[in-house]
C-alpha cells in the first residue's frame, strides 16, 4: 500500500548522465557537479559548499575542468555552482593536471593568512581545512610574508566566539543565519583580506540556531563559549543520540570524555532535523552533572529527615508505602517511551489502577479525549509540511516550542512561498519570520477563527499543547479537519509526551492506542503482559489525581520527572503531595523530592539507552553516551520495585521493554470517540482588565537549562506585551513597567508595545524574572488587571 502510494506521488525525476574522471554517473537534473562526483565516491575539496545552503562559489577550492559537447570551458569551474548538463565531461583533480594545480593553488592561498595554531585550536583534529590541507596542500609554504592579525576572540554573542584570523570567509555561517534560521544577525563586512564576520553595532548574534554556525564552520573561526579549550576532538567518544529537549526529535551526537559530556552536536537526519538543531539542544546538558544531582536512594525517616539508604532498603520502604494502598502515577513528559511504558505497566499491574497521566501541565479532559481519538497512532510527518498547500499554527509557536518544525516550515516558505497561517493572540517573531497570515483573536476566541480557515486535503494543522487551554478549540479543530480532510499534528513541548501517549501513560488508554474501556483491548494487553485481567475503569487525570490525593481518596503517588510548578494550582499540588506517600524517581532535587518519602535516583538521558517518539510518532532511539554511569533508567527501578512488591512487570532492561512494545501489534478496534466540547469564546473584561496569553520561550527557566549561563545570555528579554491602543490608554511606552495582577498575585515587567489583540496582555510563562503560572495561577484566556506600575 505504502509503496504504491509513493510510486504515484513521487514526481518523475529526469536523470542526466555525465562522465566524471572517466566514469559515467546518472543524477537528477539540477544536481551540482560536486554532488554528482560524490555519488561516484570522488571527493572534490571544498569549504563554502554546503548541501543545504545556496551555492556561492566563494572559496574556489572545488575547481574542476568541464567540457560540454566537446567544448571546454576556458578556465576551471567551481563544481559547487554548476549543475550537470547532458554530455558534460568533468575532470577533477584526479584526471586533470589543470584542476589539480588550481586546487593546490587555492589551498596555498587559503593558508596564506591562516594561523598555524592547530595545536591549540578547538577544530584541530576535526578540521576540514586541516584535512584538506593534507590532501590538497603542499607540505611546505612558499609564503614568507606577514599574516594578517586580529584581536581575538571576539564574542559575537554570549555563546559564540569569533577568531577572525582563522576565518576563510566561506560565508557558511552568514548564509546559514540568513537562509536557514531567518536571523541575518551576522554578516561579512570590510574588504579584501580584512573582510570579516561581524554583528551589527550593539546587536549580538542572538539567534536560537546560532550553534549551527559553529558546527558548519570549516575552520576554528567560530567556537562555542562553553566548549572552547575544553577538549581535543580525538579524546572524545561520540555516541549517536536523540535530543531530550523538545518533540522535534533531533538526531544528535553526544561527545563524552572520561564520563563527562563535553558537547553535543546536531546529527544528520534528512527526514527530521536535516543537519541542524537549536541552541538549547546543543548547549543545555550541564544539568546532567549538576551539583544537586541525586546519586543514592534517600528515605525519609521517622524524624522526617531524608537519609541515604541502600537500594534494597529504599525499595522496601517504597513498597511498604504503596503496597495495598490506593496509589496513582504521575510521569512527566520527559520520560523515554520505554520508561513511560514501564510506568504504564507498573500502574496497571503493580498498583492495579488506571490512575496515570503524563500530562503534568495545563491540560483538559477535552485534550485527553482528543489525543485518544485523533492523535494516538497518527502519522502526520515533516514530509507533510514539505508538500502542504497551507500550514496552520494553532496554540503553537514553532520557533519557541519546536524549533526544527520552525526551520522546516521556514525552508518551504523560502523555497516555494508556502502559505502559513497562525491563529494567535500575539504576533511573534517566529510567525513574522514565516511571513504568516496572522489571524488575531482574543484569548479564548480561537474556535471561530479556525472554522473560517481555508483548508484542503493537502493542508496541515499543527496544534500546540496550549490549544487545550481554550475550551472547545480541539473539538473545533477535529471537526474542521474531518470536514476538509486536512492533516492534523499535535506538537507538545516535551520530548516524551507522544511516546507516553502511545505507551498508555494516560488513564483512558492502554499501550498501542487501545482504549481502557474496550474489553477486547484489555484482553490484548493482559495477554502480552501475562496477567489475567486489567483494571477496567478509566483512570483519573492529573488534576483529578491531585484532587484525590488532597481529599484523601488516594493515599500515595509514584512520581517521575514532574515539576509541580508546571501545573496550574501548583500550591494545591504541593499541599496534596505533602499529605500523601510520595515515591519520587528523579535526577535532581526538586519541589517533589523536597516532599518525597522515598527518592529513587534515576539515569539522565545521556546515561541510559531508550527512545523518544517525536511529534510525528517517529522513534528516536539512542544509546547511553556515558557508558560507566551507575544510574539506572526509571524502567529498571520500577521493575525492581514491582519485584519487591511481588507484582513483577518483568522489564529489567530497555531492550526488553522495546521488544515488548514492538510485540504489541496494531490496534484495529474502535477508537475513543471525541465528544464535542462547545466553544465558550473570550471572557468579558472591563477597564484595566485584559485577557492573559502566554507561552514558554525556548530559552527560559526550564530545569534542563540549569547552569548554562552562556545559553541564558541569548534568551529573549522578559517583557509584558500590550497593543498600541492599550498602551495609549494606559499612557505607557516601551520600557515602562507594567503590573499584571489578579487576586492571586502580580508580575511586573517592562512593557513592549506590539501587534497583539487589544483585549490581551502577553507575558512569558516561565522566564527570567517572571513565573506566570506560579505568580498569577492563571492560564490563557484568564482575566487579569494591567496597570502602569
Amino acid at each position: 500500500m505504502t509503496t504504491t502510494q509513493e510510486n504515484t506521488t513521487a514526481q518523475a525525476v529526469e536523470l542526466i548522465t555525465v562522465v566524471i574522471d572517466g566514469f559515467e554517473v546518472s543524477v537528477p537534473k539540477g544536481t551540482l557537479v560536486i554532488r554528482a562526483a560524490e555519488k561516484l565516491g570522488i571527493q572534490i575539496p571544498r569549504f563554502c559548499d554546503h548541501p543545504l545552503l545556496d551555492p556561492v562559489g566563494a572559496c574556489r577550492q572545488c575547481l574542476v575542468d568541464i567540457e560540454i559537447n566537446g567544448r571546454a570551458f576556458p578556465k576551471p569551474q567551481a563544481s559547487c555552482t554548476i549543475p550537470v548538463e547532458p554530455n558534460m565531461i568533468i575532470k577533477t583533480q584526479l584526471t586533470s593536471p589543470v584542476a589539480e594545480k588550481a586546487q593546490r593553488g587555492v589551498m596555498e592561498l587559503l593558508l596564506v593568512n591562516h594561523p598555524l595554531d592547530c595545536p591549540v585550536c578547538d577544530k584541530g583534529g576535526e578540521c576540514p581545512l586541516q584535512n584538506q590541507a593534507m590532501s590538497t596542500g603542499n607540505a611546505e609554504t612558499r609564503f614568507q610574508g606577514v599574516k594578517r592579525t586580529f584581536e581575538k576572540p571576539v564574542a559575537i554573542s554570549s555563546q559564540v566566539l569569533l577568531d577572525r584570523e582563522r576565518c576563510v570567509l566561506c560565508a557558511r555561517c552568514t548564509r546559514f543565519s540568513d537562509q536557514i534560521a531567518g536571523d541575518p544577525f551576522i554578516t561579512l563586512n570590510e574588504r579584501g583580506a580584512l573582510q570579516q564576520v561581524g554583528i551589527y553595532e550593539n546587536q549580538p548574534f542572538e539567534s536560537y540556531f546560532s550553534g549551527n554556525t559553529v558546527q558548519i564552520c570549516p575552520v576554528g573561526a567560530l567556537t562555542g563559549a562553553a566548549y572552547r579549550f575544553r577538549a581535543r576532538p580525538f579524546d572524545l567518544v561520540s555516541t549517536p543520540s536523540a535530543c531530550e529537549h523538545c518533540a522535534s526529535g533531533c538526531d544528535m551526537r553526544t561527545d563524552v570524555r572520561r564520563g563527562k559530556t563535553l558537547r553535543r552536536l546536531a546529527g544528520d537526519d534528512a527526514s527530521v532535523n536535516e543537519e541542524w538543531n537549536c541552541d538549547k539542544g546543543r548547549w543545555a546538558f550541564k544539568y546532567v552533572t549538576a551539583v544537586d544531582r541525586l546519586i543514592t536512594p534517600l528515605v525519609r525517616g521517622a524524624d522526617g529527615v531524608l537519609a541515604a539508604a541502600s537500594w534494597p532498603d529504599a525499595l522496601a520502604a517504597a513498597s511498604a508505602g504503596i503496597k495495598g494502598k490506593r496509589t496513582a502515577v504521575l510521569v512527566g513528559g520527559r520520560a523515554t517511551t520505554e520508561d513511560a511504558y514501564g510506568y504504564s505497566k507498573f500502574a496497571r499491574i503493580a498498583l492495579g489502577t488506571n490512575d496515570i497521566d503524563f500530562r503534568t501541565r495545563v491540560t483538559s479532559d477535552e485534550e485527553r479525549d482528543f489525543l485518544a481519538a485523533k492523535i494516538v497512532g497518527s502519522t502526520t510527518t515533516y514530509h507533510d509540511i514539505d508538500v502542504a498547500d497551507h500550514v496552520v499554527l494553532i496554540g503553537f509557536e514553532p520557533e519557541e516550542e519546536s524549533p526544527i518544525v520552525f526551520l522546516r516550515i521556514n525552508k518551504q516558505v523560502r523555497k516555494r512561498a508556502l502559505k502559513v497561517s497562525a491563529v494567535a493572540t500575539k504576533l511573534s517573531i517566529g510567525v513574522e519570520k514565516l511571513k504568516a497570515n496572522f489571524i488575531k483573536v482574543a484569548p479564548g476566541a480561537e474556535s471561530a477563527a479556525v472554522t473560517s480557515l481555508e483548508l484542503t486535503g493537502k493542508s496541515v494543522i499543527l496544534i500546540g499543547e496550549r490549544a487545550s487551554e481554550t475550551a472547545g478549540l480541539l473539538s473545533t479543530i477535529a471537526s474542521v479537519a474531518d470536514k476538509t480532510g486536512a492533516k492534523i499534528a499535535w506538537i507538545p513541548r516535551r520530548a516524551g509526551e507522544r511516546g507516553a501517549l502511545e505507551a498508555g501513560a494516560i488513564g483512558s488508554l492502554l499501550p498501542g492506542s487501545r482504549p481502557v474501556s474496550d474489553a477486547a483491548a484489555r484482553v490484548d494487553i493482559a495477554a502480552v503482559w501475562g496477567v489475567p485481567t486489567l483494571p477496567a475503569n478509566p483512570g483519573r487525570t492529573t488534576s483529578e489525581i491531585i484532587d484525590a490525593l488532597d481529599s484523601g481518596n488516594l493515599d500515595a503517588v509514584v512520581i517521575g520527572g514532574v515539576d509541580p510548578l508546571d501545573m496550574p494550582n501548583s500550591a494545591t499540588a504541593l499541599a496534596a503531595l505533602k499529605k500523601s506517600f510520595v515515591i519520587s524517581l528523579e535526577i535532581a532535587a526538586s519541589a517533589v523530592t523536597d516532599l518525597a518519602d522515598v527518592i529513587l535516583p534515576v539515569a539522565a538521558v545521556t546515561e541510559k539507552s531508550g527512545s523518544f517518539l517525536n511529534w510525528e510518532g517517529r522513534p528516536r532511539a539512542f544509546d547511553a553516551a556515558v557508558s560507566d554511569s551507575l544510574n539506572r533508567s526509571d524502567l529498571r527501578i520500577l521493575s525492581a520495585l514491582a519485584d519487591v512488591m511481588g507484582e513483577s512487570i518483568a522489564l529489567g532492561t530497555v531492550t526488553q521493554a522495546a521488544r515488548e512494545i514492538a510485540s504489541l501489534g496494531k490496534w484495529d478496534g474502535a477508537r475513543v470517540k471525541l465528544s464535542n466540547v462547545a466553544a465558550t469564546g473570550a471572557k468579558s473584561i472591563s477597564n484595566n482588565e485584559a485577557l492573559l496569553t502566554s507561552w514558554r520561550r525556548l530559552l527560559d527557566l526550564g530545569t534542563l537549562q540549569k547552569g548554562e549561563a552562556n545559553l541564558a545570555g541569548t534568551a529573549r528579554k522578559s517583557v509584558a506585551v500590550i497593543s498600541p491602543k492599550r498602551a495609549q490608554s494606559l499612557g505607557v511606552k516601551d520600557g515602562d513597567i507594567l503590573r499584571v495582577s489578579n487576586s492571586h498575585g502580580s508580575i511586573s515587567l517592562p512593557a513592549l508595545v506590539e501587534d497583539i489583540h487589544d483585549d490581551a496582555v502577553w507575558v512569558p510563562r516561565n522566564s527570567f524574572g517572571t513565573q506566570t503560572l506560579i505568580s498569577l495561577n492563571a492560564v490563557h484566556g484568564d482575566v487579569v488587571s494591567v496597570v502602569k506600575a
Binding site: 575547481l63 576556458p74 578556465k75 576551471p76 594545480k101 588550481a102 593553488g105 592561498l109 574588504r191
Partner: protein, 426 residues
Amino acid sequence: MTKLAPVLSAHWDEKDSFTIAAYTRNGGYKASAKALAMDPDAVIQLVKDSGLRGRGGAGFPTGMKWGFIPQGDEKDHYLVINADESEPGTCKDTPLLMANPHVLIEGCIIACHAIRAKHAFIYIRGEVTHVVRRVNQAIEDAYKAGHLGKGIDVVLHVGAGAYICGEETALLDSLEGFRGQPRLRPPFPAIAGLYARPTVVNNVESIASVPAIIANGAEWYQGMGTEKSKGTTLYSLSGHVNNPGQFEAPLGITLREILELAGGVRTGHKLKFWTPGGSSTPLFTDEHLDVPLDYEGVSAAGSMLGTKALQIFDETTCVVRAVLRWTEFYKHESCGKCTPCREGTWWLVQILRDLENGVGTEADLAKLLDLCDNIMGRSFCALGDGATSPITSSIKYFRDEYLAHLTNGGCPFDPVKSTLFSGASA
C-alpha cells in the same frame, strides 16, 4: 585614418556644452523623439545593425545585450548605467558627463524605450562630486523640459567608492543597498538583475553613443571603425605625453597616430611601456605602437582594448614600481569574496615590495608567475584576473629590470625623474 572623429565630443569645446540649451541647439533630444516613435524592436535592430559594442571593457554587442531582455513577461525592466569609472588610468566617462550629460540622458530614454523599461539608474562613483552635481542638474533640466517623467524616469545613485562596484553584478548589489560583491551567474542580469528583474547594464559611453546612431543611422556608424569594431570611441591618453586628454577617433587607430595628435611622448624621452585599456590590461611596449586599437587588434597582440585608457610611461619609469602601485590598488580594492583575489593580492604586494627593495632571488620571479597563474582564471570575477595582468606582462617584457633590482640591492631608478616636476629646482 589619422583624423579625429568627434561624435561624442563634437561640442565639448563650446563653453556651455553641458547645458540643455546647448545640447538642444546642437540637435539634442531629436534622436529620442525619433526613437520613441519607432517600434522598440526596430530600435534594438538598428543598434544591432550599427555594430556598437560595449565601451566598458568587454566589448559585448550592445544591441544583442538589449535583445536578451525577455519581452512580454509582464515584469518591470530596468536600465542601469555603469558610471562607476574606477579603473586606474580610465578617464573618459567623467569628462563626457562633465561636458555633455544630456547625451547620456537621451541615450537612457532611447534604451529604456527599446528594452521596455520605465526606470533607468545611473550608478556613479562617489568620489566625483562635481560630476554628480552636473548630472543631477541635467536630470532636473530634462524633467523640466519634459524629456523625462513621461513614462521614463532616471535616478542617479552615488556609490561609495569601491572599485568592485564597477563589476556589473556587484554594482546591482550596491544599488540595492547591499555591500557590493559580485553575484553568482547565472542568473544573468538580463534575466534577474536589479531587484531580480530583467536588467540591462551598460557603460556610460555605450549609451551615450546611441543618440547619434539613431539620428544618423546604422550605416553611418558602420562606416567608421574596422571590420568588427565599428564606430568611434574615446581614447584617454595620460602619463608621459605632452598633450594628455581624450581623443575621439574611429576604432582601429594606432597609438603612434594618437601620440602624433597628442604632441608625442614627453619631450626628450621615449616610450617604454603603456596600457591599452587601463591597468587591468596586459602592458604593451614600443613594439606595439602600430597595433590597431580595436577589440580584435589589441586582443591579437596579447592584451585587451578595455576602457581605452592609454597610460604612457617613458624610460624614466621603473616598471616594478608601477606594477607594485597597481597591485597595491587591487589589494585595497579586492572585495574579499573569493580566495584567489583576496589572499592572492595580499601576497602579491608583499612579494613585489620585496622585489622593489631588492630582496629575493630570481626564483621569486618564478614564484610570482606561478602565483599569478593560480589567481588568473581562478577567481570569482575579473578583478582577480586583472590584478595579474600588469605583473605577468611586465615580467614578460622587462624581466631584466626585475633582476636588476635584485643585483642592485634596490631600485636602480630615480623616482623623481619620472615625475612632472623632474628638473624643476627646489
